[in-house]
């Protein structure tokens, strides 16, 4: 750790940064107000599918960058799971050298345009910013700035392709092509490996494509990163389910020397209450997949989806917010969140909750569905909700919801979307003998992200249960380092 601190100190002492610090007095920097993200008007955007946040202008970005006081001990970095060198990239923005800022991001993150959009910054880097912890003021808008620099590079047409070591001809493969695998692939390719990603679906990107909607993360942004990987020589095989289309052993026989399992937490949970199998009750995965991946709401796509007037989403996480805001955009008159605790306990990103409120989403907090009632054709028409109150904190530290007896009441619904969590994808654990898993079905790994089977590494949601994009990416990078170490040790012996 000391060496890292020394490194930060050395970098900070460099002339260009020292000069910038002198340009504006720290005292003055502390008085600047945080910029606001430019966004589409709530009443316009809740009727279209376009991205809500529009990004910062160059002027706004520089102004925000000036707020960062370039701390001698940059606590913000400790809040970032991949330790992006935050003050350095921000100071490059202040200097007006936006491409250089993007390069700093790419030293640690392979998907900065994605993370700048979807990271729960208020619980990560921004929570640890000097402004938050010492001044109790709004933190530097690290996420906005990250997005700004990454977008600037993307739109400049001068995106840098990382330098790639000479090919070593060693074949390695991933199971799945979500953010964990994309980050892993970038690092392996840089080290000269022959990298193939196997993906079960017909599209690359995992949750970034089928889960997170266009209005929050445009597919173009994800495709841009995928194209960069292609330029680095990474191969993608879609419609290929490892464990079904071929086994891990088949792939070993084809010459693959090591595997990175990042198959995600794709299994939807239901609540197992009466009427849950009625027509019109979906898992969030089904609802979002039909719309995001299959284009179901568009005229010229073949996949259908039913679009009701009264839509209830059960849950309070990011997935629930994405589903409810999608429902609103598809014309729901009442788009409702049904959550059994209060807003304070919601696991969703604060920005998503605020956006949902602005867009006219209703929140039925301290409510829990106990039953669905269907019409004679089996189509859901009402949900029965029970009111809740908060009791003592539970293991997760959140106050436990307790049902209030006799408080049940009915609400009309045409669609219900169940977003109460996902479980790890069981396919690989079930098809590979001897692979150690926990009782929750996640794969057990060591510090190098190596599993109980030596040529198999794992990371992302299949190791963590549902987590975040940036954590998945961080795992991918650590697994790449671990895999490289393993392969080299094998070659020597």
């Amino acid at each position: 750790m000391d060496t890292l601190k020394d490194f930060y100190k050395e970098e900070r002492a460099k002339e260009w940064r020292a000069k910038l610090r002198k340009n504006i007095k720290t005292k003055d920097r502390l008085e600047f107000t945080r910029v606001e993200m430019l966004a589409q008007d709530p009443n316009v955007r809740n009727k279209n599918g376009d991205e809500v946040n529009l990004g910062l202008t160059e002027k706004l970005a520089v102004a925000e960058a000036q707020r960062c006081i370039d701390c001698p001990d940059p606590t913000c970095i400790t809040g970032c799971p991949v330790n992006i060198y935050i003050p350095k990239f921000i100071k490059r923005i202040e200097e007006g050298n936006f491409l250089e800022a993007a390069k700093v991001l790419k030293e640690t993150s392979s998907l900065p345009a994605v993370c700048g959009r979807v990271c729960p910054q208020e619980k990560q880097c921004e929570e640890q910013c000097f402004y938050t912890i010492k001044l109790n003021k709004p933190p530097v808008a690290i996420g906005y700035l990250e997005r700004f620099a990454a977008d600037y590079e993307m739109n400049s047409g001068q995106a840098s392709i990382p330098e790639i070591s000479e090919s070593n001809g060693i074949k390695v493969a991933s199971v799945g092509a979500g953010p964990a695998s994309l980050a892993w692939a970038a690092d392996m390719a840089k080290m000269g490996y022959d990298v193939t990603l196997f993906e079960a679906l017909h599209e690359i990107g995992g949750v970034l494509k089928y889960g997170i909607p266009e209005f929050r993360l445009p597919n173009d942004v994800v495709d841009f990163e995928i194209n960069n990987l292609k330029k680095m020589g990474v191969k993608f095989v879609t419609n290929f389910i490892v464990g079904k289309t071929a086994s891990i052993q088949d792939l070993r026989d084809k010459g693959f020397k090591a595997f990175f399992v990042a198959s995600g937490a794709g299994l939807p949970r239901f609540m197992n209450i009466e009427g849950e199998n009625s027509i019109g009750v979906f898992s969030a995965n089904e609802y979002l997949t039909r719309i995001n991946l299959m284009g179901a709401a568009k005229e010229d796509y073949d996949t259908p989806v039913s679009l009701g007037k009264n839509v209830a989403i059960i849950g309070g996480g990011n997935t629930a917010m994405d589903a409810v805001r999608t429902a609103k955009r598809l014309g729901a008159e009442r788009a409702m969140i049904v959550y059994r605790r209060t807003r304070a306990e919601m696991p969703a990103r604060v920005e998503e909750v605020e956006h949902a409120i602005e867009e006219g989403v209703e929140f039925l907090n301290l409510n829990n569905p106990v039953k669905y009632i269907a019409d004679e054709k089996g189509r859901v028409k009402k949900m029965v909700l029970q009111k809740m109150e908060l009791g003592e904190p539970d293991a997760s530290g959140r106050r436990r919801p307790i049902p209030i007896e006799g408080s049940e009441y009915e609400v009309d619904v045409d669609n219900v979307v169940v977003a109460v969590g996902v479980s790890p994808n069981p396919l690989i654990p079930a098809s590979v003998k001897g692979l150690e898993t926990t009782k929750w079905g996640t794969i057990v790994v060591n510090d190098d992200f190596q599993t109980s089977i030596e040529d198999m590494f794992a990371g992302g949601d299949i190791v963590r249960g549902g987590a975040t994009v940036i954590l998945a990416m961080g795992d991918g990078r650590k697994a790449a380092a671990g895999m490289d170490k393993y392969i080299k040790s094998k070659l020597v012996s």
Partner: protein, 276 residues
């Protein structure tokens, strides 16, 4: 990728396609299916693997035209390619030597039934098969089924071929004269419901292979869920075969109609804009 090698019409509405899919051909077993998608804007639909040739690297699909996607796929020609084919999916049929097996296939359900009949026969069982359809035109794969069955009974609703009557009548006839150890029924949901009531009456263990609505086919969405023995199951990963006597067929029948309206509108629009 996935080029069509041969095409044969069984009837106006039922087509057999042989397509290139070497990885799938090598790994598939009786009971497995694939998910197929045509074009960027296409829908993902499940189709049973009716047969495979490992050496040629091909699998056989038998498609009944019921809506937009099945029609688009059935109208492809030799040399055309199917954009996306993924599999083999689902759990393979549990094949063992049990004695005498009564297989019953309705309509296009005979296609998924064929590899199962073949596998049971090769495992040393006596296999009696009942094929049922509305009329003679719709009886498919009869020769192939005969090849692996000790006896074949054909039933048509209108009596235009075989005996006049329903699949259940053919099954009752077999049960009356033979001791049946296991039954497998595949066809439209309503046919499976009544076929399974028939075997339940006689206490014959029965498997049904379900054709629920699916999206991903990998356990990710829950569109295919049904109730078996009071528990929710995902047909694509837990099935498609289940103990027929425990399946809530009424719920399944309802769920199959989830998109009836949207599908009918889409199919009519498709027919108007494409032909006839």
């Amino acid at each position: 990728m996935n080029k069509i090698i041969s095409k044969e019409y069984f009837s106006e509405k039922v087509v057999k396609l042989e397509i290139q899919a070497p990885d799938i051909a090598r790994r598939r077993k009786a009971g497995h299916f694939v998910i197929v998608k045509l074009g960027k804007k296409g829908e993902r639909i499940p189709l049973t693997i009716a047969g495979a040739d490992v050496e040629k690297g091909t699998i056989t699909l038998v498609i009944q035209i019921v809506g937009v996607t099945s029609d688009k796929i059935a109208s492809l020609n030799v040399g055309d390619e199917i954009t996306d084919v993924v599999g083999p999916l689902g759990e393979a049929t549990h094949i063992e030597k049990v004695g005498t097996v009564l297989a019953a296939g309705g309509g296009v359900g005979v296609a998924p039934l064929l590899p199962i009949v073949e596998a049971f026969k090769k495992a040393g069982n006596k296999v009696i098969t009942v094929l049922a359809a509305r009329n003679k035109e719709l009886i498919i794969l009869e020769d192939e089924i005969r090849k692996y069955s000790d006896e074949v009974i054909i039933m048509t609703d209108d009596g235009s071929y075989g005996k006049k009557g329903l699949v259940t009548e053919g099954m009752e006839e077999v049960i009356a004269k033979e001791k049946i150890d296991l039954s497998v029924v595949i066809g439209p949901a309503i046919m499976m419901k009544f076929a399974s009531l028939t075997t339940k009456k006689h206490n014959i263990k029965t498997y049904a292979s379900l054709n629920t609505i699916m999206v991903d086919g990998t356990g990710m969405c829950g569109a295919c869920r049904i109730t078996v023995g009071g528990e929710t199951k995902f047909v694509c990963v837990d099935g498609p075969e289940f103990d027929a006597h425990k399946i809530d067929f009424d719920e399944m029948l309802m769920r199959l109609n989830a998109y009836k309206e949207e599908e009918t509108i889409a199919y009519e629009r498709h027919c108007r804009s494409h032909k006839h």
